[in-house]
């Protein structure tokens, strides 16, 4: 896959004057300012250092040269054109950026790309098997588990990772007894285990229904 490069040039930043304010006002994702450019707050003439990295994303190898500051989320969205993973808060608070790393769900905004060299990364783009949706994706469609859809890729990746955790017998804060592990995947269990994914449209009832359906299927 060709590398799609959405970076702003350094020159554009320097010529922008009050660059930071301009970009914020223009609604550009905050990370786009950071990725690959020297931030105005840094030493004015600091060199742009880049390090080569290779990733395995959705079963495809990618080689990139990235500024060490690049988060995994910005690498996916701004350097690989994988814009399925969303940036909601960029601070670990919303879950929109959730991806699977070696099968585990994490917030890609709170992780440096450089820390994930060699890891097996799955984004929402990599869940389906060709035209066949992943059962969790299909359940979200069937149960109308969204309104605007912005949180949805994160919800889906999170649910895939969460169901794996349940299968592994991990208890949750909603489990009656941590020693005996999870009982039935009740609504309370689903809500607790999915609390790291915020939905601004409050599509929660349908999200819970979709996950309950998917749990039976997976």
């Amino acid at each position: 896959m060709a590398e799609t490069d959405y970076r702003i040039t350094r020159r554009a930043v320097l010529e922008g004057g009050a660059a930071t304010c301009l970009f914020l006002a223009s609604g550009l994702p905050v990370g786009a300012q950071n990725a690959g450019v020297v931030m105005t707050a840094g030493p004015a003439n600091a060199p742009i250092s880049r390090i080569p990295m290779t990733f395995r994303i959705n079963a495809t190898e990618h080689a990139l040269e990235l500024d060490p500051r690049t988060t995994l989320l910005d690498a996916l969205r701004n350097h690989l054109g994988l814009t399925g993973s969303k940036k909601g808060c960029d601070h670990g608070q919303c879950g929109a950026c959730t991806v699977l790393v070696n099968g585990r769900r994490i917030n890609s905004c709170l992780s440096l790309a450089a820390q994930h060299e060699g890891d097996e990364i799955t984004t929402v783009e990599g869940l389906a098997d060709g035209d066949r949706l992943h059962p969790v994706q299909a359940a979200f469609v069937a149960q109308d588990g969204f309104q605007c859809g912005y949180c949805t890729p994160g919800q889906i990746c999170s649910a895939v990772g969460m169901l794996e955790e349940v299968r592994a017998g991990w208890p949750s804060h909603a489990s009656a007894d941590v020693a005996s592990g999870p009982g039935a995947l009740t609504e309370a269990e689903i809500r607790e285990r999915m609390s790291g994914n915020i939905c601004r449209c409050a599509a929660y009832p349908n999200i819970v229904a979709a996950i309950r359906d998917a749990a039976e299927e997976v």
Partner: protein, 328 residues
């Protein structure tokens, strides 16, 4: 974010020495706290030492019958470990009450202990903060201080330590093992890891620069019932306003011994030893729980917005003790 150079650590000693060699260098583990603070330029390291792949991610039995938890063990793995769930349930409960599934999958044991305060003014670079910029003052003293400390604070800083895990570890008398930059290994009781602010709130721990946490050692599981209770603004995914970890052992109708650690109320997990003495040997009844709660919060000082924490902490403590005794 300020520019930095990135280096992956090959071993503990080298990592400690590399950080020690540069005042502006930091270890990075899960990054869930450090990167958050770096994006806001509250932390401005020029060099990052990535220790996330060091082989410190196992949980092993100790000869004494306890567990040695590697610094890199993820919060989710620690909470799900069958030995922890059966022998140290208070620790599983505390971990599972913290953060989210995604964050627990990244957060490490050492990073959790060393996470920094969530004080709003510490996070706001436009406001004075003695912890972020020594000598500038503390905006929280006269500010919106609902989440702040009622115990152990000072006129220089009233921030609380936000960790749930550390509160349970304090009740379990855990020890923290570190490696110094010269390769020396030392251990300290978890109660000695975090420092009270006094006049120097920017000095948060007993660790020297470059000193790396390598493990947390849990002594053999104490007898009795363990329980963690967390009170917060939302049912999930919120930091504690007050939390209580307790280990309580009964003998007949009497309490043989009790351990208490309180979270959300102080700059470190708070062990009210006086309250533990009150309980030792007392009849397992409401009167003893009330006396213990009064004693635990005796020195508490409210700052306005956080006044409610004092009665809330007493109620949470009474209720947690009563619930633990019931099952003990």
């Amino acid at each position: 974010m300020q520019p930095f150079t990135y280096q992956r650590a090959n071993n503990v000693k080298e990592a400690a020495a590399a950080v020690a060699a540069n005042r502006e260098a930091r270890f990075i583990s899960g990054g869930t706290n450090l990167l958050d603070l770096m994006k806001l330029e509250i932390e401005r390291p020029t060099h990052l030492l990535d220790i996330s792949r060091l082989p410190l991610d196992s949980i092993e039995e100790t000869p004494e019958g306890g567990l040695r938890v590697g610094a890199q063990v993820r919060n989710s793995d620690l909470a799900a470990d069958p030995r922890v769930r059966s022998r140290y349930p208070v620790l599983s409960q505390a971990l599972l009450a913290g953060a989210s599934g995604q964050i627990r999958n990244k957060a490490s044991t050492a990073g959790n202990l060393l996470q920094r305060t969530r004080c709003f003014y510490f996070y706001d670079r436009n406001m004075p903060c003695n912890k972020r910029e020594p000598g500038t003052g503390c905006a929280a003293l006269e500010g919106f201080n609902r989440i702040h400390a009622v115990l152990g604070a000072s006129e220089a800083c009233i921030a609380v330590h936000p960790s749930d895990m550390a509160v349970a570890m304090a009740a379990l008398n855990a020890e923290v093992e570190t490696t110094l930059p010269d390769g020396t290994i030392r251990t300290m009781p978890i109660g000695d890891l975090h420092r009270l602010p006094g006049a120097t709130p920017h000095v948060e721990t007993a660790l020297g620069h470059g000193e790396m946490i390598t493990a947390v050692i849990l002594p053999p599981a104490p007898p009795g019932r363990q329980l963690y209770r967390k009170v917060r603004d939302r049912a999930s995914y919120a930091f504690a306003l007050v939390s209580v970890a307790t280990v309580i052992e009964k003998s007949g109708d009497r309490i043989r011994s009790a351990r208490i650690a309180i979270g959300g109320v102080a700059p470190k997990p708070w062990r009210p030893l006086e309250a533990e003495y009150v309980l030792a040997g007392a009849a397992a009844a409401d009167s003893a729980f009330t006396e213990a709660a009064e004693s635990a919060l005796a020195g508490a000082v409210g700052r306005g917005g956080n006044d409610f924490k004092i009665p809330l902490a007493k109620r949470t403590l009474r209720q947690t003790l009563a619930a633990a005794v019931e099952g003990a």
